[in-house]
Each structure stands twice: as structure tokens, then as C-alpha cells.
């Protein structure tokens, strides 16, 4: 029975106000890119012909660091350039923002993250976790949008045209808020998000594409920030997810952190200095930790050398330490061990034993670690398959799904599941499931409930997502109130609640009184963390910022052009000085100085004007000088010929010159 809470009418109105219409009828006119928006690195791919191709970014990398930085002059940079300047600008550089997307500020994981990163995490206007950079508030969706925009630009550069449609991946165990926040990020980035698909499913798609043999595969996905395990059956082009489980706060960033803590502790023990008080030193150590982690996947020992890490009473102090693979494995053993639980639960939910798994596919950068591979092997009693590129498989799979949605790729169907149970709160705060976890989508379920008090005239429907038995321990997705129930004894009214999940994973909830026919419904989109107004504001700001960025780009190009022209003119002055009159030389030098003066200013147009003036001035002068020089050269050449016709005696030649 529903609890008879007297909800304010305003609550329902607010819930209604937040509803956004997700347009599922949009036609796909261009190509659909697949984007793996990863915690640490992102990747973009597209179907070309019958193959999926990974696209390279401006720096030539096939993956792009998911890093966004705000520089001194308030410029925004994304990717590898942002990562490079992190040491000197740590407070204003956002990384691993995927860990906070769609999370509340008071979420325990948010508290944990605050202790791990140098940037500032604050409470957003709606209670979500946001970032504060240079006094400005940024939502995780905005940060994600900046990375997605970089991926969009990468795709457009490679494909030579605009890109609008995208399939974006999320961890399989993301809840509804996290998925919606990711979709919002796509919208802010100017993309039409055709589908949100799960990362392990996408990886399985990349693995099973064009393979005809029926197989049951387990996808073990340990990335930068999240862990997912999914079990799928692949038969004749149909990829059916049997079960999925995971941990949305377990990944490579945690391994880096464990190493960082170890480094700080050892250094303090040896030198007596606490490096965590120095942001730059900590950031250098973090980078070194990540590098060491990667190296130890292929070597048994690595050395960390960081000169001038700090200053002590007796002068500069250097960081120098050897680290063995076994020591590293010991430090992170508990993290690796945490992946076993979800694997076992996933097998149980799928109703399978390890002997029925045909293949274990490793996905995510952390699966390169030998210890991780050993654990995956022992958990499933099977040597893992290593033919899939752990960094690119997810984006490739997303691109394939894009081809399916566009209608270009035939014979492939994904049948995914909802990772967490969905239900409502009933009497006593009990969570009553309507749709259980690992139910194939699309899915629909109807149950009938009743009132808990005599004469109750309204019921509040609170929609939750999770696996705990008490509703408050789960994630609240939405709430609304059904009004106007006729006054009847408790237990008599019949309220029919229907949950309907479409293939995009979007949930619609309908509550209906069977006696009066009154109905109330809500499409669950309000909990993405950003309201409709938020997104509109961000898009407007984004356009303004785009204008600012364009002007800044013009300025930089103008400056480069100006410096190039000045250099060339000065070089020409030296070359042609014998053929120019003194007034001409003076005039040109004055024009050069004018260009130099204007280069220091922030006016791209002024720079261009001065360059044009200098160019006009020097064109005719240098042309004349060039001709004069040509004549002189011709004369010298003639003189040389004359010399050859002489008697060829040195004395005679000497005499001729005198």
C-alpha cells in the first residue's frame, strides 16, 4: 500500500516542469559516430564501408585524454594539451569528471572523490556535484560536453564535413541519472544522441562483428574509472545481454591514487617532508604514478626520478625510488580483488556457470595489467581473449551500433538489459520492484496498489532505482502525485502503476486510478541534474564562448602571420640593402616597427591592417631592388665568362682585378 503522504501540489508541478521531450523520431542524414567517453581517455570511431575505423585527433592520437583545462587567459583547452599543462595548473584542470556525472553532492563517492583530486568540487544549484573553476560553476555534464566537442571536431576533421549524430557509451552499471547526464553532455556538445549504449555491450559488438559462431562471452571491462562485467550470448548477429554488474567507482584512477599515497608515505619516511601540501609536487607525483603503473605492465621494475621535487632546509630535495611489479601488485591487491564479487553475481544472475562461458574479453586500459589478467583467468577458469584492443573496442562497437541505427549495417541486433531494478516506495518505506534488474529492454510491467489510510484522496508515487530493500537506500528518480481519489476505506481503491522502458532505456511511469480513470504520468528525465533551462543557458553560453574562441583564434593567427611577415621583411632588407635608397629603407623600417607595436595589442584587425600596409609599401620597393640585384648578378656572371677567356694565368687575373 502506498504511504499517504500529503504532497504539496507544487511538487507535482515541479516534476512536470522538468520534463523534457526526447525526440526519438529524428532522421539520421549524415554519418553516425561512435564515441567512447571514458573516465581517463576518450575515443571516436565511425563506420566506413563495412568496417569501423578509429579516427585520429589533431595531435595524432587515436585516444584523447578526457581532460579539460582553463588557462590564465581564460582559454579552454581539451585533450593532450590540457593534460600536459596539468602540473602547473592543477587547480584549474578537470580530469576524471565522469566519476561525478549524475551524482549528488552528498553521495559518499563524491566525498571520496573530493579527497583524490586537486580541483574544487562544490554543491550545485540542484544538490548535484559540480566543479568550481576560477570562480565559475561547471556541471559534470558541461565538462563531459567539452570532451565530446573535441571528439566531434576530431570526427569532422577526419570526415571532412559536419557531424551531428552520435552513439555515446556509458558504463553498463550507470544508473538513470548518470545516463541522462551523459545524454545532456551530448546535447550541450551539439550532438544528436541517437543512442546511449553500454560499454561492455559495445565491446562485445566489436568482438563479435562478422563472427558467425554462436558464443557466450563475458566482457571484463576495467577502465579508468569504472568496472563492468557483462555476460552476453551472441547467436547469428543477435547480441543478447544475459546479465550485467559492476562498480561505478573502481578503475585505473584508484590504482594511481594507491601509488601516489605510497610515494608520499615513503618520501615522508625518508625525507620528513609532506608532499601533499605542495600541489605542483603532488601533481608531478601523480603523473609519475600513472607512468609507473603503465610501465609495470611490461617490465618487472621501474624507477621514478623527479629532480627538485621540493626544498628542504639544506637545499633542493630530489625524489628517487625504485618500484617493483610485485610491490605494486601488493599495494593494489584489494582493488583488483573487488572485481570478483560483481563477476560472481553476474554469473548467478545469468544462470550460468564458468564452464558455459566460451570467451572472456578484456576491455579497458587496466586489463593490460598482468595481475588483472590473472584474476580474470582464475575467476572464469579460462584464458582471456586478447584480440580486442582494450582502448578502442568500445568506440568501434558504438560506431557499429550507429551503422545499425542508420540502417547501413544489417544483420546486427543488440538486446540489452536494465542493469538495476526499478520500483516504487510502498508502505513502511519498502522498495517494491516492478522491473527487476537484467530484464531485457524494451520492457513493460503493470502492478496494482492500494491506499494505506481510510479516506486517502491522493497517493504519492516515488520512483526508485537500485537493489536495496528499503527505498531510501536506492536512487530516487522521480516523484509525482495522483490526485482526486474518491474517499474510500484503505485497501479498496485500485491504483494501477505501469513502468515502461523503451529501447533507449528511457523510463515512463503511469499511475492510474481504475475507478475514476484519473491518470498521472511522467517520463523520467528530470534527474539528469540539468533542467531544460540549464541546458538552454549552457548552449547560449557555449555559442558566446564559440565567438570568443573564434576571435581568439583569429588573433593568434594574425600574430603568427605578423611575426612571419616582419621576419621576412627584415631578412629582405639585409639582402637588398645595396639596391635601396636611404629614404626607402627608413620608411620600411618605420612600417616594420608599426607592425611590431601592434602585435602586442589584442586587436587582430589592427594587426592585419598594419601587415597590409607594410606589404603594400614593400612590394614595389623590393620588386625594384630584386630586379636591380638580378642585373648585378648578370653582370658578375658576364665578368666570370670573360675571365675564362683569358690566358688562365694567376698573375694576369690578379692584374685584371686591380
Amino acid at each position: 500500500m502506498l504511504r499517504s503522504l500529503k504532497a504539496l501540489k507544487l511538487n507535482s508541478l515541479n516534476a512536470q516542469k522538468g520534463i523534457r521531450q526526447f525526440c526519438s523520431d529524428s532522421k539520421i542524414s549524415g554519418q553516425v559516430i561512435g564515441i567512447d567517453l571514458g573516465t581517463t581517455n576518450s575515443c571516436v570511431a565511425v563506420m566506413q564501408g563495412a568496417e569501423a575505423r578509429v579516427l585520429e585527433n589533431a595531435e595524432g592520437g587515436r585516444t584523447t585524454p578526457s581532460v579539460v583545462a582553463f588557462t590564465e587567459d581564460n582559454q579552454k583547452i581539451v585533450g593532450l594539451p590540457a593534460k600536459r599543462q596539468m602540473v602547473t595548473n592543477a587547480e584549474n584542470t578537470l580530469f576524471a569528471t565522469k566519476r561525478l556525472i549524475g551524482r549528488r553532492f552528498d553521495d559518499p563517492m563524491t566525498k571520496k572523490d573530493m579527497t583524490m583530486v586537486p580541483y574544487k568540487i562544490v554543491k550545485g544549484p540542484n544538490g548535484d556535484a559540480w566543479f568550481e573553476v576560477k570562480g565559475k560553476m561547471i556541471s559534470p555534464s558541461e565538462a563531459g560536453a567539452m570532451v565530446l566537442q573535441k571528439m566531434k571536431e576530431t570526427a569532422e576533421t577526419n570526415l571532412g564535413g559536419p557531424v551531428t549524430d552520435a552513439v555515446i557509451t556509458v558504463p553498463a552499471y550507470f544508473d538513470d541519472s548518470q545516463r541522462q547526464a551523459t545524454r545532456d553532455a551530448g546535447t550541450i556538445a551539439g550532438l544528436k544522441v541517437q543512442r546511449i549504449i553500454n560499454e561492455p555491450t559495445a565491446a562485445a559488438l566489436a568482438y563479435g562483428f562478422k563472427k558467425d559462431e554462436p558464443k557466450t562471452v563475458a566482457v571484463y571491462d576495467l577502465g579508468g574509472g569504472t568496472f563492468d562485467i557483462s555476460i552476453l550470448e551472441i547467436v547469428g548477429g543477435v547480441f543478447e545481454v544475459r546479465a550485467t554488474n559492476g562498480d561505478t567507482f573502481l578503475g585505473g584512477e584508484d590504482f594511481d591514487n594507491a601509488l601516489l599515497e605510497h610515494f608520499v608515505a615513503e618520501f615522508k619516511k625518508e625525507k620528513g617532508i609532506d608532499l601533499t601540501k605542495d600541489t605542483m609536487a603532488t601533481q608531478r607525483l601523480r603523473e609519475a604514478a600513472e607512468k609507473a603503473k603503465c610501465e609495470l605492465s611490461s617490465t618487472l621494475t621501474t624507477e621514478i626520478n623527479l629532480p627538485y621535487i621540493s626544498a628542504g632546509p639544506s637545499g633542493p630535495v630530489h625524489f628517487n625510488m625504485k618500484l617493483t611489479r610485485s610491490k605494486f601488485e601488493q599495494l593494489v591487491a584489494d582493488l583488483i580483488q573487488r572485481t570478483i564479487g560483481p563477476c560472481n553475481i553476474c554469473l548467478k544472475d545469468a544462470g550460468l556457470s564458468t564452464s558455459e562461458i566460451n570467451e572472456v574479453i578484456l576491455v579497458g586500459g587496466m586489463t593490460r595489467m598482468p595481475k588483472v589478467q590473472e584474476l580474470a583467468k582464475s575467476t572464469f577458469n579460462k584464458e582471456p581473449f586478447k584480440g580486442v584492443n582494450p582502448d578502442e573496442a568500445v568506440a568501434v562497437g558504438a560506431a557499429i551500433q550507429g551503422g545499425v541505427l542508420k540502417g547501413d549495417t544489417k544483420g546486427i541486433v543488440l538486446v540489452d538489459v536494465t542493469p538495476l531494478s526499478l520500483g516504487i516506495e510502498t508502505l513502511g518505506g519498502v522498495f517494491t520492484r516492478l522491473i527487476k534488474k537484467n530484464t531485457n529492454i524494451p520492457a513493460s510491467k503493470t502492478d496494482t496498489f492500494s491506499t494505506a489510510a481510510d479516506g486517502q484522496s491522493e497517493v504519492e508515487i516515488k520512483v526508485f532505482q537500485g537493489e536495496r530493500e528499503m527505498a531510501v537506500d536506492n536512487k530516487l528518480l522521480a516523484k509525482f502525485t495522483l490526485f482526486g481519489l474518491p474517499p474510500l476505506p484503505k485497501g479498496v481503491p485500485q491504483i494501477e502503476v505501469t513502468f515502461d522502458i523503451d529501447v533507449n532505456g528511457m523510463l515512463q511511469v503511469i499511475a492510474k486510478d481504475k475507478a475514476t480513470g484519473k491518470a498521472q504520468q511522467v517520463r523520467i528525465q528530470t534527474s539528469g541534474g540539468l533542467s531544460k533551462d540549464d541546458i538552454a543557458r549552457i548552449l547560449k553560453e557555449s555559442e558566446a564562448n564559440a565567438e570568443v574562441d573564434r576571435k581568439r583564434k583569429e588573433l593568434v593567427e594574425a600574430r603568427n602571420n605578423g611575426e612571419s611577415v616582419v621576419y621576412q621583411v627584415e631578412k629582405d632588407l639585409v639582402e637588398f640593402k645595396d639596391y635601396l635608397s636611404q629614404p626607402q629603407t627608413e620608411e620600411i623600417k618605420k612600417a616594420v616597427q608599426a607592425v611590431r607595436d601592434v602585435l602586442a595589442k589584442e586587436d587582430g584587425s589592427a594587426i592585419e591592417a598594419e601587415i597590409k600596409k607594410l606589404h603594400d609599401l614593400t612590394r614595389s620597393s623590393f620588386e625594384t631592388a630584386y630586379k636591380a640585384k638580378l642585373d648585378s648578378s648578370a653582370s658578375k656572371s658576364s665578368s666570370t665568362e670573360n675571365k675564362e677567356n683569358k690566358d688562365n694565368t694567376t698573375e694576369a687575373e690578379f692584374t685584371e682585378k686591380k
Binding site: V415, L427, T448, D502
Partner: protein, 315 residues
């Protein structure tokens, strides 16, 4: 036969499908109407909240464990949804309605069993019904008979064969084959919103049906519901069964992991035994006895789920 042909020819709304324009699902064509109508029926059937019975069981168990007032413990109550959504707007639908009405009206020619909401395939003896009429109607489309029959065969066989014995591997393959033809992703670029809606409805029904058919308990409950029997109508559960369930639950609460594993294997064996009995009862049409066995299976299934949750292992 002739009479049927005459009726069809005299109907002004009847039109012949142009072969060049045939599509897998085309709502403008007559032949999809029976499917459309049938889907609605099935959607209704599968939304009759089979899960609610499990919830009732849970409530009952809670009561047995001293929860107090039974009404306070009940979180749901099962209810029949009589809102049968029929689409009467298109002429094709009328023809579909006629076809289904004819099919429903006849008893199975093989086992003579009268079945509510008659299916093209008799649920008890798996014989195709009214083949004469069907053949005659399909024959009008000549070269499309195979396509239509093929589709109907796959689809209806999957839904309409509630024979209790099910090969899970075969079920899984049929499910995937149908998904490969009907999944909404395949209609993403369709110009017809109705086609998309039908695809979603079908696939939702497919998923629900798949969940029911692969579970012995839900499967048995479904067949009994089709026969008009409801598990909640069983007034008195065998006291021996209740005693057994209580003892097992106590053992689970107090036992070690090793004890629980042993209980799980024993319970799995009991489930297998009951499933075997149910196969015989349904084969012999002993529905009352099947009802009792299904109630027992409900308890056993619930115990197994409890064990799975404690051990995090499937047994």
C-alpha cells in the same frame, strides 16, 4: 470454402497486395492485421502481473513469520486488466477480426479441446488449427503464402505453444531469431510511426514472454491462467508443504554456507522432480493436480532465489 472466398471478394475494403511493394511489416496491407490484433491480445495477457503472485507468496511467508496483520503486509494485490485494447479503425483490422473470430470459434480438430482465446496452434496437442480456412485465405496471395506462414509460424509458435515442456536452448534461439526480425533498432529509420510502435510492442511482448517461458514456475502459472485457473484460488495449501517450507527457511537462516549449498542442491532436485510431474500432469490435462504442483513449485522457486542471493552463486 467457397462461401469464405465470396465474402472476401465482396468486401469493398479488400485489396490485393502488390508483390513489388511487399515489406516485412507494412501496416497498410491486409495480412498484418491479424498479427497486430493478436499482439494487442498478448500484450494484455502478459501484463496480467504474474509477478504479483510471487509477491503474495512473499507476504504469506512474512505472515507465517509473525508479521502480524496480513493486510498491512500485503504490498500488492493481483488484478485482472479487462481493458482489451482493440484497434477497429482500419478495414484490414476488420478482416483480421473475422479471421481470429473464426479461429476462436472452433475446437481443436485433433484433441477436441475447447480453449479460451483459441490459438492457431493448439496449446495442448500442438496441432495447427483451421488449416483449411487459413490455406484458402493465404492461397489468395499465392507467392506470399510462404512468407506469411513462415512469419506466423515463428511468431505464433513462440507465443502460442504453452506446452509445459520447453527446450531452453531452442527457446533462446527462437527468441533471438524473432528479435533479429522485430527489434526496434531495425525500424529506427522507418517512415511509419505505427510500424515503430508495433515493433516496440512486439518486442516488449517478446521479452516478457521470454521471461515467462524460461521459468518453469511462471510457465506453469501462465498455462493455468490460460485455462482460467488462478493460483490465488487455492484456498488450503497442504500442511506438509508449509511445514517443509518453514523448516527449510529456518535451516537457511541458521546454516553455514556449506549447509546452504547442500540445501540448494536438494532444493534444485525437488524443483526438477516437480517440473517432471508437471509435464505429466499437463500432458494428461490434470489441471487441478497441476495447480497444486505449481503452488508447491512457487515455494521451491522462492527458496532457490533466496539461496542464490545468499551465496551469490547459481545452483
Amino acid at each position: 470454402m467457397n462461401k469464405t472466398l465470396n465474402i472476401l471478394f465482396n468486401n469493398k475494403n479488400f485489396k490485393v497486395v502488390n508483390p513489388a511493394n511487399i515489406k516485412f511489416i507494412n501496416n497498410n496491407n491486409y495480412y498484418t492485421s491479424p498479427i497486430n490484433k493478436y499482439i494487442n491480445n498478448n500484450n494484455f495477457i502478459f501484463n496480467k502481473s504474474p509477478e504479483s503472485s510471487i509477491n503474495k507468496f512473499y507476504s504469506t511467508t512474512s505472515t507465517q513469520n509473525g508479521c502480524g496483520n496480513n493486510s498491512n503486509c500485503s504490498s500488492t494485490c493481483g488484478s485482472n486488466n479487462n481493458n482489451n485494447n482493440n484497434n477497429n479503425n482500419s478495414s484490414g483490422s476488420n478482416h483480421g477480426s473475422e479471421l481470429l473470430k473464426k479461429i476462436k470459434a472452433s475446437p481443436c480438430w485433433s484433441c477436441n479441446e475447447h480453449i479460451e482465446k483459441k490459438k492457431i496452434f493448439c496449446p495442448m496437442c500442438n496441432k495447427v488449427q483451421q488449416m483449411d480456412d487459413s490455406i484458402d485465405i493465404f492461397y489468395l496471395f499465392d507467392m506470399y503464402v510462404f512468407i506469411l506462414l513462415h512469419f506466423l509460424n515463428l511468431f505464433l509458435f513462440f507465443f502460442c505453444k504453452p506446452s509445459f515442456r520447453v527446450d531452453l536452448k531452442d527457446l533462446s534461439h527462437r527468441f533471438k531469431k524473432l528479435q533479429k526480425q522485430l527489434h526496434p533498432d531495425l525500424f529506427e529509420q522507418s517512415d511509419s510511426q505505427k510500424e515503430k510502435n508495433i515493433s516496440k510492442e512486439i518486442t516488449t511482448s517478446l521479452n516478457t514472454a521470454h521471461n515467462i517461458l524460461k521459468s518453469p514456475f511462471l510457465r506453469a502459472e501462465y498455462i493455468l491462467n490460460q485455462k482460467g485457473l488462478d493460483l490465488s484460488s487455492v484456498g488450503d495449501v497442504d500442511p506438509e508443504v508449509l511445514m517443509e517450507v518453514l523448516e527449510v527457511r529456518e535451516a537457511i537462516d541458521e546454516g553455514t554456507e556449506e549447509d546452504i549449498t547442500k540445501i540448494a542442491h536438494e532444493n534444485r532436485q525437488k524443483i526438477n522432480d516437480v517440473v517432471e510431474k508437471l509435464e505429466n500432469e499437463f500432458q494428461n490435462k490434470n489441471y487441478q493436480e497441476a495447480l497444486k504442483q505449481t503452488v508447491y513449485l512457487r515455494y521451491l522457486t522462492r527458496i532457490q532465489e533466496e539461496v542464490h542471493n545468499r551465496l551469490d552463486t547459481h545452483i
